[in-house]
């Protein structure tokens, strides 16, 4: 099988779905051109190169460069979806979503409910998340927890290239609005990815690693941090199960609860937020529905409740690390 990066896997998914269905269109800032090009013929392909080459094959009617107006991108996408197209809107940083909340939270997410179930809104919003790029407080947040809390939205955050392709194809084929969160530091992460099209259903967690002593639930790039920690802990004789929910809405509660039932211990590693984030959400779930299996407190490994610092040493201290996860497990096991 071919090794592909997440960037290539996403490009694969977009290209194959655009070939399969003429209703699939892309709109966003620089998706056709980007820096280094005229914007008319292909250049960089979006700020992160994911849409590179698509305008050459599908033309400017289906790969649409927009002005820098985030609210218009989302409004246009929601309207296009409600009237029969399958738009994929790209917003280069999730941090800019603030100006699009009405279009996303109050319009796209609610169409199906407000129109008696008669309207479908098959739109995808692709956006990037994550600290570690030295891009400061306004370009580094991990805001998937906010979208997860809004009913009517589906939230997807792949951790590897195989999942990225299959989940994006599923997102494009889904009839509800899907927010697709891509971690900026993972774009070059590669693994075996089939050339053929495939869809991964939402709401099924991936058990990345099986273990007996402790369950770690982690999201997006934190899955890799958890895996590294699991390797370190394995060398100490501690057997760790790592679960990647892949989607936070819908959430595969069953896999998490079954794992905690087996291990009796839970650590959640989440870059979203120290307060009201996904870690708190998973901790709440297990405290309520898995309490009798727990042998110790639930440990949440998150950034501190502060904006992402611009100072590189502070930014590094902000993001959950392998050492922090290992220390959390040690604290839980009292070793």
């Amino acid at each position: 099988m071919t090794q592909k990066t997440i960037r290539e896997a996403l490009n694969d998914a977009l290209r194959q779905e655009m070939r399969r269905d003429n209703n699939v269109i892309i709109l966003g800032e620089d998706v056709a051109g980007g820096h280094g090009g005229t914007g008319v013929i292909d250049a960089y392909g979006g700020p992160l190169g994911v849409t590179k080459g698509l305008i050459g094959e599908f033309g400017a009617n289906r790969v649409i460069d927009t002005p820098i107006t985030e609210s218009a991108i989302m409004g246009a996408a929601a309207g296009a979806a409600a009237t029969g197209l399958r738009p994929i809107a790209e917003l280069m940083f999730v941090d800019f979503m603030g100006v699009c909340f009405d279009q996303i939270f109050n319009q796209a997410a609610k169409f199906r409910y407000m129109f008696g179930g008669k309207t479908r809104t098959p739109m995808v919003i692709r956006t990037t998340i994550g600290a570690g790029m030295r891009t400061a407080a306004q370009h580094s947040q991990c805001l998937y927890h906010m979208f997860t809390s809004v009913p009517g939205l589906k939230c997807v955050m792949p951790s590897n290239a195989y999942d990225a392709k299959g989940l994006l194809i599923e997102a494009i084929r889904d009839d509800d609005p899907v927010i697709f969160f891509e971690n900026k530091l993972l774009y070059d992460h590669a693994c075996d990815v089939p050339d053929e099209s495939y869809a991964i259903p939402f709401g099924e967690a991936n058990v990345v690693r099986e273990g007996r002593d402790i369950t770690i639930v982690a999201f997006s790039r934190m899955v890799h941090i958890a895996e590294e920690a699991a390797k370190t802990l394995a060398s100490e004789g501690i057997s760790v199960e790592v679960i990647d929910p892949r989607t936070t809405s819908p959430l595969d509660e069953e896999t998490i609860l079954e794992s905690v039932e087996k291990t009796g211990r839970l650590v959640v590693v989440d870059e979203s937020a120290a307060r009201c984030g996904m870690a708190a959400d998973i901790a709440g779930l297990v405290a309520e529905k898995g309490f009798s299996s727990l042998k110790g407190p639930i440990i949440q490994i998150t950034p501190p409740h502060t904006p992402v610092p611009f100072s590189p040493p502070l930014e590094d201290a902000y993001i959950p690390t392998v050492a922090a996860v290992v220390a959390g497990v040690h604290r839980l096991l009292k070793v």
Partner: protein
């Protein structure tokens, strides 16, 4: 006798390491080629390591519980006139060959190839027997082999419903020591086109025949498993003179009913949790179904077109109660035919299959295995398969 190495085998394309679970031999034992000497577990499957050479075990290098790369030194064989120092030196200088290095053992390396059959692309995994001059001359059995010209008639392996060429990971290399062995992916399966026009056994047999044509293969030994066995049998009935021998492992549609619940469960499973209990029915030992094995099957099932292909095949009579063949079909076959049944088969169970009798037909029952005897008890099955070639 020179000093000989026993190394970690490579099972299937994706294996690059395995855990030594248990040794079945001790220093001082005399072992023979083909003897099961250890148990190795990969992330996908556990299996027995068969000795590729014979001699006296002088040293067990690998320890139980140790994770070993493919090609790593497991044990050293030598007779008593080799000193301990010589054994030490052999171990110290032993170099693990990189299985992906193109310079290594080109002849027996499996290659993924494909053939255009009508509007379909049929993928296959091919193993060629080593050239006679490449056979190491320090072993009795290979001395015999080197005197013989390599076999001209290739072996074709046909997997079952929902399977692929990798189902033969414990068999293809073994058969490949003497024969050119081709494991194909049926349409709708593996790397082949995910589109099936005619999903009946007759329709799929026509694809196999066209596949032989496109590779220019005049005559072949056919080995099939389950639905693949029914396809092989159908080929033998329609192109009898092109089939040198027939080995049918747990054949479908010859009188024992196919467990329709398995077929439906396999078709409908969308998640790991749904698929695992379905796959466990395939084996006598359910522990063989690892998370990675389930993942691999799920990854296959998620590919566009697979759902539809599996439906088309299942709907074309795979679970029919009546055999697809009659006595006259079988009576017209004159090639040697081996039938292999798994003792605890939960997919094709029962005692039927009375049509499969005749002077040229031998029935075998393989113990410790369910519907996948060629994986669960590969040693016994390989012996039967090789005998029939």
């Amino acid at each position: 006798m020179t000093i000989k190495a026993i190394t970690v085998p490579k099972w299937g394309l994706s294996m690059d390491e395995g855990e030594l679970v248990e040794w079945h031999i001790s220093p001082g034992d005399e072992i023979n080629v083909g003897q099961e000497i250890a148990e190795i577990e990969t992330s996908k499957i556990a299996g027995a390591v068969e000795a590729a050479v014979s001699g006296k075990v002088r040293r067990l290098v690998a320890e139980e519980g140790e994770m070993l790369p493919v090609g790593a030194l497991m044990a050293v064989l030598a007779d008593d006139n080799q000193s301990d120092e010589a054994i030490d030196a052999f171990i110290a200088t032993f170099k693990v060959e990189d299985p992906d290095d193109p310079a290594v053992d080109m002849a027996s390396k499996p290659n993924i190839l494909s053939a255009q059959v009508g509007d379909m692309n049929i993928s296959y995994l091919e193993v060629m027997p080593p050239e006679p001059e490449n056979i190491p001359d320090n072993d009795q059995s290979s001395e015999k082999a080197s005197e013989k010209a390599p076999e001209k008639i290739p072996v074709i392996l046909i997997h079952g419903y929902g399977g692929d060429c990798n189902n033969w990971l414990f068999n293809q290399a073994k058969l490949g020591e003497t024969h050119r062995v081709i494991a194909l992916d049926l349409p709708g399966h593996g790397r082949s086109t995910k589109y099936v026009k005619d999903g009946s056994v007759k329709g799929l047999a026509r694809i196999v025949e066209a596949f032989l044509d496109s590779l220019g293969i005049e005559k072949a030994h056919l080995i099939g498993h389950s639905m693949g066995a029914a396809i092989a049998l159908q080929c033998a009935v329609t192109i009898s003179d092109r089939v040198a021998s027939l080995s049918l492992i747990c054949p479908a549609l010859v009188g024992r009913p196919v467990n329709a619940g398995y077929i439906t469960g396999f078709m409908q499973a969308r998640t790991r949790k749904q698929l695992k209990p379905v796959l466990q029915q395939l084996f006598s030992d359910e522990k063989l179904v690892t998370a990675d094995l389930v993942d691999d099957v799920l990854k296959y099932k998620r590919l566009d077109g697979v759902d539809e292909a599996l439906k088309v095949i299942a709907a074309a009579g795979l679970t029919a109660e009546k055999p697809a063949f009659n006595h006259d079909d079988i009576a017209g076959l004159h090639m040697p035919i081996s039938i292999i049944w798994g003792e605890n088969d939960k997919i094709i169970a029962g005692t039927g299959a009375h049509i499969l009798t005749g002077e040229n037909i031998r029935n075998h029952q393989v113990k410790d295995s369910g519907h996948m005897p060629h994986m669960e008890n590969a040693g016994a099955v390989n012996e039967i398969l090789m005998e029939n070639l």
